[in-house]
């Protein structure tokens, strides 16, 4: 393993680099305890260990650092502890489960940081829901004390919510009454769309700063069960045991630290390189193909975390998080894949053949999450299919996620792009559609016509005709066309682009997931920008301050 050079500041305007990787030995805010089929994920936030100076993480309130650890734990549980079928999410502090996102952190954060923080937080919550649904790891929220705001949003991401009944502990979403913002990181949406709380009760709940406790919380479907304090531990333990599912794989793999080297303007991984041109506000994300496509061992998990597709997508995922958090001003991302297309398709074939093995399945699910992360990354993404490129099957999927695909048409250096059955269903977007299906929303028959079973390859002209690429300039035009496309794109309003891309990327049906991100991006961010929240006299600005907020009364 190459030692990572992580301390070097490289993060655009936002100061110190945010470290995106961690492991349980380094956790400051969480404890992960696995006991056979039941894991305990215990939130015990260290007040003095915030990501940035200027706030204390009181009452188990969280910042991005807390969430990066949670995301790590959720992923590790799936790969390292497949024997776990129930995850009890609880707090290590008496009388408080979690007070939500730290207000003072939010107040001092830049707007882009705030948005990226909320987005990352919700991606983690979706990963918990996906783990419950797809990996049989059932999340049980054990609220052993006050649970408010983002704390309750976190609980909402669990499949089942239990609340201690001590006549004081309540669940609440006090964002609107206290801060003039929304419980917008999935809170409102999950209350009505997931838990099906009646809309009028939800309206009362979301404006009731003190929240709802005990039996009433259960009646309103805000929680699933309440237990008296003296029976609390026993009740949670009993429920966890009831939920245990037999027949789980018994041995996981170790997710080894990523092979990651940071320089001022680039991060190199074993299969991925992210390099940025700060002046041009562009980045190049290069994915490299596999060296071999050796068959999997009889027990596929023995391939471990260095297995090419797993390593590649872990690195890609990290690169995307890096891009969001540490390279705020980069506007256009070009996506490249360099390598041997035959070997890529051989790996693709392995993935398809072993897709029912627990380990391969987890790899496919991790790919799915990473691709969703790409869909949700607010940068213009252009995939470039160049000579020597290897966009094929699973590795073609990042290109399908791009806003545009350019493919060079050079008779001297034939270039191909390939598809496989995995492109039609293994990596659904947040709206439930395969990217190919969404590409051809007008006519579903066009996907069938591609004959994916044959792992078809497309020349530039074929790809253009099939509607797979946006343009296929010849080699004489390529440089100019690409340069102009990228420069022009980088010159447009970053806000308009973010909104435009989000609109175009998610054609098709709405799901809870798309609603959450859509509302997070639009409503939540709009409110965060408004003087009523963040102006000098705004509620968020003045929370905990001596002065009281003043609102502009005009409704929009």
């Amino acid at each position: 393993m190459t030692s990572a050079i992580l301390a070097q500041p490289a993060a655009g305007q936002s100061g110190a680099v945010i470290e995106t990787q961690t492991h349980p030995g380094q956790y400051r805010h969480w404890k992960l305890r696995c006991e056979g089929p039941v894991a305990h994920l215990i939130m015990d936030v260290r007040e003095d260990a915030g990501l940035h100076p200027g706030y204390e993480l009181r009452l188990n309130s969280y910042d991005l650092g807390v969430d990066i650890e949670l995301a790590d734990a959720v992923t590790r549980l799936r790969f390292e502890h497949p024997e776990v079928s129930v995850v009890v999410l609880t707090s290590g502090k008496d009388n408080v489960f979690c007070a939500g996102a730290n207000i003072f952190m939010l107040r001092q954060a830049s707007h882009p940081f705030k948005v990226n923080f909320c987005k990352y937080t919700n991606e983690t919550r979706l990963a918990m829901e996906e783990a419950t649904r797809e990996s049989g790891q059932y999340y049980l929220a054990a609220l052993n004390g006050v649970c408010s705001g983002g704390g309750y949003e976190l609980a909402l991401a669990c499949q089942e919510i239990h609340l201690i009944d001590d006549r004081s502990s309540a669940v609440s979403l006090p964002e609107a009454p206290y801060l003039g913002v929304l419980p917008g990181t999935g809170g409102l949406t999950r209350v009505v769309d997931k838990r099906h709380v009646r809309r009028d009760l939800a309206d009362v709940f979301a404006t009731l700063a003190e929240g709802v406790k005990g039996q009433r919380a259960k009646e309103w479907k805000l929680v699933d069960a309440v237990h008296p304090k003296s029976q609390w531990s026993a009740a949670i333990a009993r429920r966890a045991q009831e939920l245990v599912k037999p027949g789980r794989p018994q041995r996981g793999i170790a997710l080894e630290p990523l092979d990651k080297r940071r320089e001022a303007d680039r991060i190199d991984y074993s299969h991925v390189t992210l390099s940025v041109d700060r002046a041009a506000r562009t980045a190049r994300l290069e994915l490299r193909g596999p060296h071999t496509a050796a068959p999997l061992p009889a027990e596929p998990a023995q391939a471990g975390s260095r297995w090419y597709p797993l390593a590649l997508f872990r690195e890609l995922d990290d690169a995307l998080v890096e891009l969001r958090l540490n390279f705020e001003t980069i506007g256009v991302l070009t996506l490249h894949a360099q390598g041997d297309l035959d070997k890529v398709l051989a790996v693709d074939e392995l993935l398809a053949r072993h897709r029912h093995d627990w380990f391969v399945r987890e790899v496919l699910l991790l790919m799915r999450r990473t691709l969703k992360r790409l869909d949700l990354t607010a940068r213009s993404v252009f995939a470039l299919v160049e000579p020597g490129s290897c966009f094929g099957g699973f590795l073609c999927e990042p290109a399908l996620a791009a806003d545009r695909i350019y493919m060079i048409d050079d008779p001297h250096q034939p270039t191909a792009l390939a598809l496989s059955p995995l492109n039609n269903g293994s990596f659904p977007m947040g709206n439930g559609l395969a990217r190919l299906a969404q590409r051809f929303l007008d006519d579903p028959a066009r996907v069938a016509a591609l004959q994916l079973d044959t792992r078809p390859r497309f020349s530039p002209q074929e790809a253009l005709a099939a509607g797979l690429v946006t343009a296929a300039p010849d080699s004489l035009d390529w440089d100019d066309e690409l340069r102009i496309a990228v420069e022009e794109r980088a010159s447009l309003s970053p806000d308009a682009l973010t909104g435009m891309e989000a609109n175009l990327r998610f054609a098709g049906p709405e799901t809870m997931e798309t609603k959450i991100f859509g509302r997070l991006s639009a409503w939540q961010n709009w409110i965060f920008q408004r003087p009523n929240a963040t102006g000098e006299r705004g509620a968020l600005s003045l929370y905990g301050e001596p002065a009281s907020p003043e609102f502009d009364p005009r409704r929009t």
């Binding site: 009944d165 006549r167 009454p177 008296p228 003296s230 009281s548």
Partner: protein, 467 residues
């Protein structure tokens, strides 16, 4: 049954309040039987009952049984001022109804205050069995009955101004129980039993005095019903504090007498001065924490909204600036190896102002106790520990300090706690002293007799008649 409730809130013409009380009162009675004084239910006790707010009306003396005590609902008379005089709404009319925008804050203030009232009754419910005299036993029941009436006062506000949610909260005030494993009282200090009479006298001196300061700051409230309710409660609170102050004073006097005579108090069933000091340390430092963090955003909100003022906010003698947006409260804290001056914007420091006023008064009380010691000329004094000592909450909770307020290490603090707070031996010693004395005019050996009787009766009056 509601006719028997003494009140000046026009209960007979208030169907809303009647409906709420019809449901709540039976639950209260059950609570008073279950969680009020353990035993003594058939005995006749000479008690004071508030029957009106007219001068003297708050002190109607009669012989009653505990289950028959008449709990009343009273507001103090109208205030001289009709306008809000602090915070962001200065000059507007006082609110007679809960403003919607401050519903959540008012509810929180009232529920938190209301929760302490029945809690203290629960904490004290075993003490009757070891009363050192009939006059003390009477005083205990008087305090209990009035704390229960304070519960009524807060419940009245919940019932009258907070709709069905208020009624639910009022029921929960009866459901939470001091020290209960499932549903304890809200504030931690109200979840430990008051195990003996020295603790009772310290509690009424120090913790009831916190009650006084909290009530006094609520008595400044722009929400007029809250101000007038708490104002009336203050009259009763003064009696509770006097019970404590005189009680500790009499314990000190007895100990001093014995020391003066060269007798070891511990040898004759009385309490050594060192143990008294430890009790003072325990209860005063636990009470400091009840004021909340010195730097508090809630406190700022309460002040800005005009819900809770400083101590005697309305008296211009104390504060010229009732907006409190400029300037800062200053405190010395030890941080990173040296003393630094911490500045807290005034509004966020409201708890600190209140705590300072409280501390002043506590020092005066300890001063009075030292006068008792002076009379016996035994060369000993008692002290109040520093505000910084043994704090769990606020700006002095990160760095440990000793009883003089000097910084020490965590390990040294543990040693200080060992030395300065009562240990199991001390508790056992005090417990051995606790033998009941129920003969009129007689007192236990560990406490001096009271200087006079109460309610117009002599000291040897049978304040409690057992049946």
């Amino acid at each position: 049954m509601l006719e028997a409730i003494p009140n000046n809130v026009n209960l007979s013409d208030d169907p809303k309040l009647q409906r709420a009380l019809l449901r709540w009162q039976p639950q209260f009675k059950e609570w008073w039987l279950d969680m009020g004084p353990d035993g003594f239910q058939k005995d006749e006790i000479y008690l004071r009952t508030a029957v009106s707010v007219e001068p003297g009306g708050w002190a109607h003396w009669d012989t009653v049984k505990l289950p028959d005590y008449r709990f009343g609902i009273f507001l103090a008379g109208p205030r001289k001022l009709e306008e809000i005089y602090f915070g962001d709404n200065i000059g507007r009319k006082l609110w007679t109804q809960v403003p919607g925008e401050f519903r959540k804050e008012l509810r929180r203030l009232i529920v938190t205050q209301g929760d302490t009232e029945p809690a203290s009754v629960e904490q004290q419910r075993q003490l009757g069995k070891t009363a050192p005299s009939l006059i003390d036993l009477r005083a205990l029941f008087q305090v209990n009955a009035e704390e229960a009436r304070h519960l009524w006062a807060m419940v009245y506000l919940l019932h009258s101004h907070f709709g069905s949610d208020g009624r639910a909260e009022a029921e929960e005030l009866l459901q939470r129980r001091s020290g209960h494993p499932d549903h304890p009282r809200i504030l931690q200090a109200f979840n430990k039993p008051i195990r003996d009479w020295l603790a009772f006298f310290c509690f009424t001196t120090f913790t009831d005095r916190d009650g006084k300061f909290q009530l006094a700051s609520l008595a400044e409230s722009s929400f007029d019903p809250l101000a007038r309710t708490t104002n009336f409660m203050l009259t009763e609170e003064a009696f509770h504090m006097a019970t404590g102050e005189k009680g500790v004073g009499r314990v000190i006097e007895r100990t001093a007498q014995l020391m003066r005579a060269g007798t070891d108090p511990a040898a004759v069933g009385a309490i050594p001065l060192g143990v008294i000091q430890k009790y003072i340390n325990e209860w005063s430092s636990a009470t400091f924490d009840l004021f909340g963090a010195e730097d508090s955003s809630n406190a700022a909100t309460f002040f800005a909204a005009g819900l809770k003022g400083r101590f005697q906010e309305g008296s211009d003698k104390r504060y010229a600036d009732h907006v409190a947006l400029e300037g800062a409260y200053e405190a010395e804290v030890y941080e990173g190896g040296h003393w630094t001056r911490k500045e807290i914007p005034k509004r966020r420091a409201m708890n600190a102002y209140l705590l300072d006023a409280y501390e002043d008064e506590c020092r005066r009380v300890v001063g009075k106790w030292n006068k008792v010691l002076e009379r016996y000329d035994i060369g000993e004094t008692l002290t109040l520990p520093s505000l910084r000592f043994n704090r769990k909450v606020g700006i002095y909770s990160d760095q440990p300090y000793d009883a003089h307020g000097q910084p020490i290490t965590r390990a040294a603090l543990d040693a200080e706690i060992e030395r300065l707070l009562p240990n199991p031996d001390d508790y056992a010693l005090v417990e051995r002293c606790m033998v009941p004395v129920y003969a009129p005019g007689k007192v236990a050996n560990w406490i001096a007799p009271p200087d006079k009787g109460v309610g117009g009766k002599p000291a040897d009056f049978a304040y409690v008649r057992f049946h």
